[in-house]
Amino acid sequence: MNREDFPMLKQDIIYLDNSATTLKPDCVLNKMAEYYKEYGANAHRGDYDISYKVDLEYENVRDLVRDLINAKSKEEVVFTSGTTESLNMIVNGFFESLLEAGDEIILSTSEHASNILPWFRIARNNGCIIKYVNLDDNYYVTLENLKKVITPNTKVISLAHITNVIGDVRPIKEIAKFAHENNIFVVVDGAQSVPHMKVDVQDLDIDFLAFSAHKMLGPTGVGVLYGKKELLEHLEPTILGGGMNESFDNENAVILKSLPTRLEAGTPNIAGVIGFGAAIKYMNQIGYDRIIDRERYLRNYLIEKLVRIPHIDIINLESDSGIVAFNVNGIFSQDVAYYLNKYNVCVRAGNHCAKILKNAVGVTNSIRVSISFYNTESEIDDLVELLKNKDKIMKEML
């Protein structure tokens, strides 16, 4: 559905790597061009009309994001360059000064590198201990398994809401409730969830959330850091510079601006943020429910066909997202991806930046198909047709 809105789809490609990044509709591209062509001034400098317009447009997107995730106030919405930067800010700006030797951090083995490596460094520097929640037989995180690794020293749980490898949805609301009863902070990597489901930060009662615009029809280089206001107040800016300070006379007299500006030093990605606003409006127009329904429908459509092919091993039969991970029995995933590429089918092969998951799943690499609402049954038919004949894959993969 809505294929005509996506200029990339005019090319002869079957794009099934939507978890890596989505395609962009015209309205997003036009909105960004409009900024550069019609009011391309800097933000926060409202001394003349077009600059004032920039502020209006930019802050308008903050409202859109606030509504999107149901934050209590705009002050809780900080623009960053993406999930990765948001997570790094949360870890280095908030937890760095909070965590002490012996404190425990809970992660899972299927986290993206951006929700692992910042914690690794803090663990090393501060002497904290990283613990992993055990995945169940479906590679899911359950509250039950989580409780097993929690101790009086647990200070923070940081999990993807939906993983990028197998697309399982974590029971974040239950986890947050339990965590808060035990004075544990909850950080959520929403890179894969905010694009595919309604995420309500107040309902979930999470402390921090990170996500990226480019995975939800928006431009690259824009992301969001959400934090509860009382916590964000304690988040030390990790980047200092223009736009975030009130005044400075000497090194002891630097006064920072209030939230969220204090956490947005330097000229922001103005065009990107404004383009992101267009993406949110576009998704709202289509409706989240319709997007989700369509993606689930297409996923099931694919699964039903794949299960009938004997040489295909599906890793995640069940999943709440549009992600299907599988292998062609006996063929290295990258070779399959190269083969599909010859037919202009774009899929991802690899460990999907979750390098420690392989120990849990026992499969190092897989092919990942990630579906978006603009994909079609006929694209999936083409994919399945290409995968049906193993001899053909073997013959043509070189």
Partner: protein, 141 residues
Amino acid sequence: MDTNLKKEIIMDHYLNPKNKITTDDSRYVKVNTNNESCIDNLNFYVLFNGDLIEDIKFDGEACAISTSSSSIMITNMIGKTIAEAEEYINNFEAMINEEKYNSDILNEANAYDDIYKQNNRKNCALLPYKGIKKAIAEYRK
């Protein structure tokens, strides 16, 4: 070399790679090599004897091109002196990078002479050579 023959050679070495077996023999120099842009990840185990490369084994996970290229390299390289091996490596790299090279000494490795057409697979073919160079450097230390 005709295209079908090239494919046959590559598939043969992919499906029945030479010396794809791990070893914990401490006389072997062990190196790991991987491609930053993809997921190939191989270990090479090289047994030197003075100036001679006496044996090479490898294990790990890699695509058809990397695996077959490793197998062919090993077949060609066992028994060579380090100097001969280096000449062979230079020629192979020159071929992959579309420079002047001597095809006579490459034997079956000539099967990759048009891999440059698939830019994203050049590094796959080169991966084992990266490994062996690392092993030689390590041995010299």
